[in-house]
């Protein structure tokens, strides 16, 4: 009997613990015991402020260099900073949960100003405008793109609702398998620029002429993937002159995006070309079911011969590729558009997401100050080069950088400076390699054409019927590319869109662009 009682008690206790554990919330990654502050006199005069930063980073735990950086920021700004880093795969869900429950960090990261949950949070007052706090934030002002501020004025009240996490605006070129080019005796010009016809020719050879020499038809010219929402888009938009919202050649609207233009065939031609390449097996047939991460795997494992990508990733890509195949070599190539121009659409509005201050922030000014410090010369030096003693040592007045690869999850992903593309160059990199990479990055920055919409979302595009309708675009685009629909069906959906929403959408967008262009 006693044994039964004991078993029942233990069983009940175990189940109770299990139930309690189910409800336990994963704790944020914290910086333990912030050390006493000894920062700048101006900052130490202010009382110490606690703040929590919620962001999406590659790891939920801070690395050693991350901890040291945060410690240096805390000392300089007299703050105690906690990080709340949900697993990146569930960040969106966790962010939604935080917004719904009101359990908010002082500042949270959003992926984009047109994110529906962000727009709702702004509308509901959960995210606060920060204009007044930016008055003294000279570094944030100086090192952000002007168009980033335009993109962050989302509420129609001309107020800014976020601190940019800037990225250098560029239009990247393509990584080619150089060993495949060599095998097929294809020469790339010294300036790394080829025409679009040459590009198509190379891709066809990569998919038809057995560049890996294994005697099998198992290679493809170009590696691509579905978008995060699983839709697929036409490839080579830069080369086909699709640069988003630009001044139109005439017609009802002053500004137009070929994607929404009933009178233009540019977008449908891009769809037709992608469909043709897909049918002929020139682009990876697995692309529509792959996510972005897999594209690199396919390239490195020798399935595809070309992918688009950032020139600064040379070392990482090369080393990973050589582990699979010692003959793996890389060439970085830019492709001119059909008119022979070196142009490419600048990605986004200089935002690689942004930091939004919430209504829960105990001292919004100090939150902004922390980000401003990170962009100051002192803060930026720590972010770029790390902390002395850990990331580098000073020998004979020269910095000697740690040779081991460092896990800079937070350190290199909190803020960036506009146009400072040297950020992407590892300070420990050899001069020879720098000379190889920097011209390519520079070219990617210089060739940009900006879309004039600045990621603005017209009010009608935030309405439920519009959001529901949007699915039709991704459906028809996918079907056309995989050969299950004619390109004319895109125009039918566009006509339907135009009747239901398009006129209001196009007018709102034109008014916005006009207003911004006239400000210049």
């Amino acid at each position: 009997m006693k044994l039964k009682k004991a078993i029942a008690c233990v069983g009940a206790a175990v189940l109770l613990v299990a139930v309690t554990a189910c409800g336990d919330k994963g704790g944020p990654a914290e910086i333990d015991d912030p050390k006493p502050t000894s920062g700048a006199a101006g900052e130490t005069a202010k009382p110490k402020v606690n703040m929590t930063i919620m962001g999406e980073f590659a790891s939920s735990n801070l690395s050693e260099t991350d901890k040291l950086l945060v410690q240096s920021i805390e000392e300089a700004t007299n703050t105690a900073i906690k990080f709340d880093i949900p697993p990146s795969t569930g960040y969106t869900e966790r962010l939604q949960l935080s917004l719904t429950t009101g359990d908010l960090a002082d500042v949270v990261w959003f992926p984009s100003p047109d994110d529906a949950s962000f727009l709702k949070a702004v509308k509901d007052g959960v995210i606060i405008p920060i204009d007044e706090y930016l008055n003294e934030a000279d570094n944030i002002q100086n090192y952000s793109y002007d168009i980033s501020w335009d993109a962050l004025r989302v509420n129609g009240d001309d107020k800014v609702y976020g601190i940019p996490r800037t990225t250098v605006i560029r239009s990247d070129g393509y990584w080619f398998r150089k060993d495949w080019l060599d095998k097929l005796n294809i020469q790339i010009p010294d300036n790394n620029e080829i025409t679009f016809d040459q590009m198509l020719d190379i891709m066809t050879k990569f998919s038809k002429e057995d560049p890996d020499g294994n005697g099998k038809h198992d290679t493809y010219g170009y590696g691509w993937a579905a978008q995060p929402d699983k839709s697929i888009r036409p490839v080579f938009q830069n080369e086909l002159g699709l640069y988003g919202w630009q001044e139109s050649d005439g017609g009802e609207y002053k500004y137009m995006n070929p994607q929404y233009d009933l009178n233009s065939d540019k977008y449908t031609k891009a769809l037709e070309l992608t469909a043709k390449l897909f049918k002929e097996g020139v682009i990876d047939p697995d692309g529509p079911t792959l996510d972005g991460g897999k594209v690199l795997e396919q390239f490195q494992s020798g399935k595809t011969g070309v992918i688009d990508g950032f020139a600064g990733h040379y070392e990482t890509f090369l080393n990973a590729g050589k582990q699979i195949n010692p003959e793996f070599e890389l060439a970085y190539v830019f492709v001119k558009n059909e008119q022979g121009e070196m142009k490419g659409l600048g990605q986004g509005t200089g935002l690689w997401g942004f930091w939004a201050v919430t209504s829960s922030a105990s001292d919004p000014q100090r939150v902004v100050d922390v980000f401003d410090y990170m962009l100051s010369d002192e803060g930026w030096d720590s972010i770029y080069t790390g902390i002395e003693g850990h990331d580098y040592k000073v020998e004979n007045n020269q910095r000697v950088y740690s040779a081991t690869p460092l896990e800079t999850f937070v350190r290199k992903n909190m803020v960036r400076r506009a146009n400072d593309f040297m950020f992407f160059i590892n300070p420990a990199m050899s001069e020879e390699l720098k000379q190889k990479l920097v011209p390519n990055i520079e070219k990617a920055v210089k060739r940009i054409v900006m879309s004039k919409d600045r990621n603005y979302t017209p009010a009608i595009a935030k309405t439920p019927p519009y959001l529901d309708f949007n699915k039709k675009f991704s459906e028809v685009t996918t079907k056309i590319i995989i050969g299950d629909a004619q390109s004319s069906e895109y125009k039918e959906v566009l006509q339907d869109w135009n009747t239901k929403f398009g006129q209001t959408y196009l007018k709102e967008m034109n008014d916005y662009i006009d207003q911004i262009e006239n400000k210049k």
Binding site: A116, K230, D286, T289
Partner: protein, 305 residues
Amino acid sequence: MNNGKASSVWLYMRKNKWLYLLLIPGFLYLFIFKYVPMFGIIIAFQDFNLIKGITGSDWIGFENFRYLFQSDDFFMILRNSLVISFYQVLFGFPAPILLAILLNEIRSLLFKKFAQTVLYLPHFISWVVIAGIVINMLSPSSGWVNRLIVDFGGEPIHFLLKPEYFRTILISAEIWKELGWGTIIYLAALTTIDPSFYEAATIDGANRLQKIWYISLPSIASTIIIILILRVGSILDIGFEQIFLLYNPATYKVADVFETYTYRVGLLEGRLAFTAAVGLFKSVVGLIMIVLANRIARLFGKSLW
């Protein structure tokens, strides 16, 4: 009279107090995770505001439901949910029963245990991994299914981009994953059958199939009915992960179900109140279905309540 009844109940509870103690965590679980959150249903009738919260948001009556029923997508999603659910019941429900009966007939205990272990394993593999296996297996460039087709002179098929294959792929993957696990409850029911029934049938000259048909199946019929009623109650609960991981815009028209729709609309578009309305609609349909299924089962004398 009432006092006497109450005291007998009390005595019964005292006698079984350790069993009641074991019930507490289950009750707590249901109360905390199932009943308390039910309060949130009211946002389905609100223009939910993040700052004002559940208690302060403006009431909009049935506006979210009106939008749902008038939406172009509603009937497609309802149809997809019902069709996939029907296939799940048609093919997925009998499969573990058949397998349990087959396992029950195995005489070698060692082989039976080995087979059960192998069959249970897929249940513990996450959908992310299974979707990866399916995608690789059906890849038009490197999947073994397409290699086989090419070896026989055919052209590679983009299985995951073709609506006509989607349901078959989904249901097959689901059956493969849950088949073994689903047998547990039926195997447990089969072990309760008195062996003397089989002995008597053997003496009467019954063969294996006759014993299965006249003894095994009728003996576990109550279990089958209960599981079927519970399954019918969740007729609109298709499962999110497997569809989300395998579908794409090319297969939306056959694959988009309430779970994927609420994910896109609720989480990605931030329309939480509308999502709550969809959830409430699903629950009401589930309740109606479970009551109806029980009524039908009662006609055969096998009802749940």
